[in-house]
Symmetry: C2
Subunit: 497 residues, 2 copies
């Protein structure tokens, strides 16, 4: 992107005029006809496997196919596989959508009506653009909730930006951080492909650091130092570090001690921390509670810049379709705060329903509120089911021959490692596949209807093979999914042995 | 952006390692610390004037200020200034948000209940990600509605992409079209600053073509040819043309004949047409009905690529806060369709409420449906008020000394031209303002509380001065707004005469 600034000079030195476009060709055309960086984007979570799954789904039911339905384990989309929404959340959202509903006594509980009134007083409703940064009242309430979460560490509502999902916030920060093709950002391997896709489109360098699979996907500071030195040796100006905690696709939860080491490293090396914390409510190990990077940075008094991300799509709400997210920036220049405002203002504001959903996630009903009992029951059930399924699925996967799978301490995924026979690796290469795990996943889909994502879509150590699967199908189906995976796995291993 | 592809080579030829970052400085910092193209974005609709208005609003009520409230005429945000939402729309959206509501007889009319059921059958509800391109049923219904609108011209649902507002669609197409800093797109002057902001951030060349103010802001083919030749002479590869119809900020509606000339020009020169048609329902001149570029392109049999944009934010719904938009692509390569899918898939999907709102806008209740009578009454009232206000406001502005204002044939704006005294121009220059219309607008805001946007934010002929104002305040306030503008205008002219 440094070339953007050279445009005037570049044009001035061109002597001849550009000929008219060739009318026999499309303007937007494969190859030279589209922006190369955009064309190079890859996003496996909705890639080849999913398109094939959707094509198969259209043929169902079919006597030619050995399964009755597609089981989508490719994406953390809980409500698409049967998880119910939280009643309180939907009642408030319906009330602000159609305010005449709260005028009738008894349609909604009293605390729902109060929440609806508060939002309507603080805004022009869901049909008007809000401030570009998000409704002020909601940012204030999010700030208070974060302070409570972080044991009193102060939060400024002006540093909070409400966005269409966390993705928009991540892209906004990366678009500012990456100045040209010599700028790099440290990104975990394996990673959530939003980061690689965004870096590809902004033309920066992905500087991968490997998570340590043999030690529960832990984050090793020696590895960070090694990869940083390597990148600098190649002339890359490394400006930030992405950390996903709880991990996606790996499911690990960082210890406080490990986080302190990461913060100290970033402070010493002057790196912006981008902390993807969208799975903060999906933690299943009591001995490793979620701690925010904000809390660690502030309690250490570290002098570094931090952006953290959160979303209504995950947690126990799982409200993916609302596209509600937010970002908090910490220790950033006032200028940067204003620049983010400006960038977001070009799209006017994020959708208001998503903004309100963020408020409901951060400040849920409290004991004594009319909605509390039902809310608590629903949340407890969803959380309990997620935790049970995480354990059942990793236990099940570990019984497959040649498969090892770290337990999921958090998030919604498992990333089992599969030992593939040489014949399968050869077959995948012969068919021009990016990795042999693509072959494995395609054959799994075609044999069982289960759609998972090849590990190569998230990057992995050279010569290793994985896949990412969610554990989101309903509790009573999980056993069947595992049994189905086992039958396929055994057949696949025999076929290629 | 061509430099993106040079990264490997560029890095390989750098001999020395990059030093560590300077720990005494912020990483993201004004000047060299952020991406220059992003920093250069300008977006006047939410710029300096609006920030000043918001600061004033926080001081109200105040005896020091000569007005009681801020009148926001800076942005087409109808529901923020009193326009009511359409009952039918909000009932369906509340129903899909909280499906238990439709189980109780009598809460909603029967056709609302049926619409809710249809959406729930065709999707996993508002809480699940949909297909990246948008829910298939909704794309099919949009396609049918477009066919009806365009007198039978066929539409393929696979060419429709549902997005978070039209802005996301516009940015997606431009990001693919602009390959490097030598690529340009023809953009009207004056224009809606989304286009300039997006071109700035993608590093392409804005090739401005002037609309003819003296002829009702018409679009002149000679002007297009002249600007295209000029740009090619400078080495710019011009690849597309943006046309906003009805116009923003100008309010003109193109005649069919004029559109045919534009299409023929773009076909001859092999330019992609980007047709911003978000104001297609805001047409106030019976003798100039809205015609879509899709219809003209197809009926002429023109061999060119077209992307057209629509939104729920405008029209009579004015549902800005829902962020619902869509794009149709016509005559594009299958590869391009797949590339758009891939780009959008990185953000997973647009918000589902916005998707459903698009469906409701395109296929509203029909005569005989239980909701039709109320729907028709509400729509007729809103439309009638918009038309009356458009006339009242342009008539009023034309009575100001030295002000000329083309009537608004469509959209939600007027773009009056103001003749500013030399002393005002000198004063603005002395205060470092980008244009003297900034001075005019700031003084108007401080004297009246009315917030409009300087013409320089939309670009304009050198040496001319304008401002953009909406005509959205309630009908009973419009007279007061005009009177207030007149008092200010007279004082401003005396002050600087």
């Amino acid at each position: 992107m440094s070339s953007r600034t050279m445009s005037v000079r570049a044009l001035a030195t061109r002597a001849s005029a550009v000929p008219a476009n060739d009318p026999s060709r499309k303007v937007l055309a494969e190859g030279a006809g589209v922006n190369k960086a955009v064309a190079a984007i890859e996003y496996a979570v909705r890639g080849e496997l999913v398109l094939r799954a959707e094509a198969l789904a259209k043929r169902l039911p079919s006597v030619d196919l050995p399964f009755e339905k597609i089981v989508y384990c490719n994406i953390g989309n809980p409500q698409s596989v049967g998880q119910s929404p939280i009643t309180f959340v939907r009642q408030v959202l319906a009330g602000i959508t159609c305010p005449s509903l709260i005028e009738n006594e008894g349609v909604f509980p009293k605390d729902v009506v109060e929440r609806v009134r508060a939002v309507l007083r603080a805004s022009h409703g869901i049909g008007a653009y809000s401030e570009s940064q998000g409704i002020e009242l909601i940012r204030e309430r999010v700030a208070m909730a974060m302070e409570k979460r972080d044991g009193g560490v102060p939060t400024n509502p002006n540093n909070i930006f409400l966005t269409n999902g966390a993705s928009e916030a991540v892209k906004t920060i990366l678009s500012m951080l990456v100045r040209d093709e010599n700028d790099g950002v440290l990104i975990p391997i394996p990673q959530y492909p939003l980061y690689s896709a965004a870096m590809t489109s902004f033309g920066g360098q992905q500087v991968g650091y490997y998570l340590d699979e043999d030690n529960g996907w832990s984050l090793n500071i020696d590895e960070l130092e090694k990869r940083l030195a390597e990148a600098r040796g190649k002339g890359i100006s490394v400006r930030g570090l992405v950390v996903i905690n709880p991990g996606n696709p790996t499911g690990q939860v960082l210890s406080r001690e490990n986080m302190e080491d990461v913060v100290a490293f970033c402070e010493k090396e002057n790196l912006v921390i981008m902390a993807d914390e969208v799975y903060q409510k999906n933690v299943y190990t009591p001995e490793k509670p979620f701690v925010s990077f904000k809390k660690v940075v502030c309690e250490m008094g570290a002098d570094l810049e931090l952006a953290s991300f959160h979303s209504v799509s995950k947690g126990v709400m799982g409200e993916c379709g609302l596209r509600g997210g937010y970002m908090e920036i910490v220790n950033m220049e006032r200028y940067v705060q204003e620049l983010i405002y400006k960038v977001l203002s070009v799209s006017l504001c994020s959708n208001i329903i998503g903004q309100v959903a963020i408020d409901l996630m951060m400040t849920p009903p409290q004991p004594g509120d009319p909605s509390y009992e039902l809310y608590n029951k629903e949340v407890t059930e969803i959380y309990g089911a997620l935790r049970n399924k995480a354990i059942a699925m990793s236990d099940g996967l570990n019984t497959l021959e040649g498969v090892t799978c770290n337990p999921s301490e958090g998030a919604m995924y498992l990333f089992p490692r599969i030992t593939l026979p040489p014949a399968a690796i050869k077959e995948a290469a012969a068919r021009g596949m990016a990795s042999a795990d693509v072959l494995y996943c395609i054959e799994m889909l075609e044999a069982t209807g289960i759609c998972v994502v090849p590990g190569s879509g998230f990057l992995q150590q050279e010569g290793t093979y994985h896949f990412r699967t969610t554990f989101l199908p309903p509790e009573n189906e999980i056993k069947g999914v595992i049994a189905s995976m086992r039958r396929f796995h055994d057949r696949f291993m025999s076929k290629y042995s």
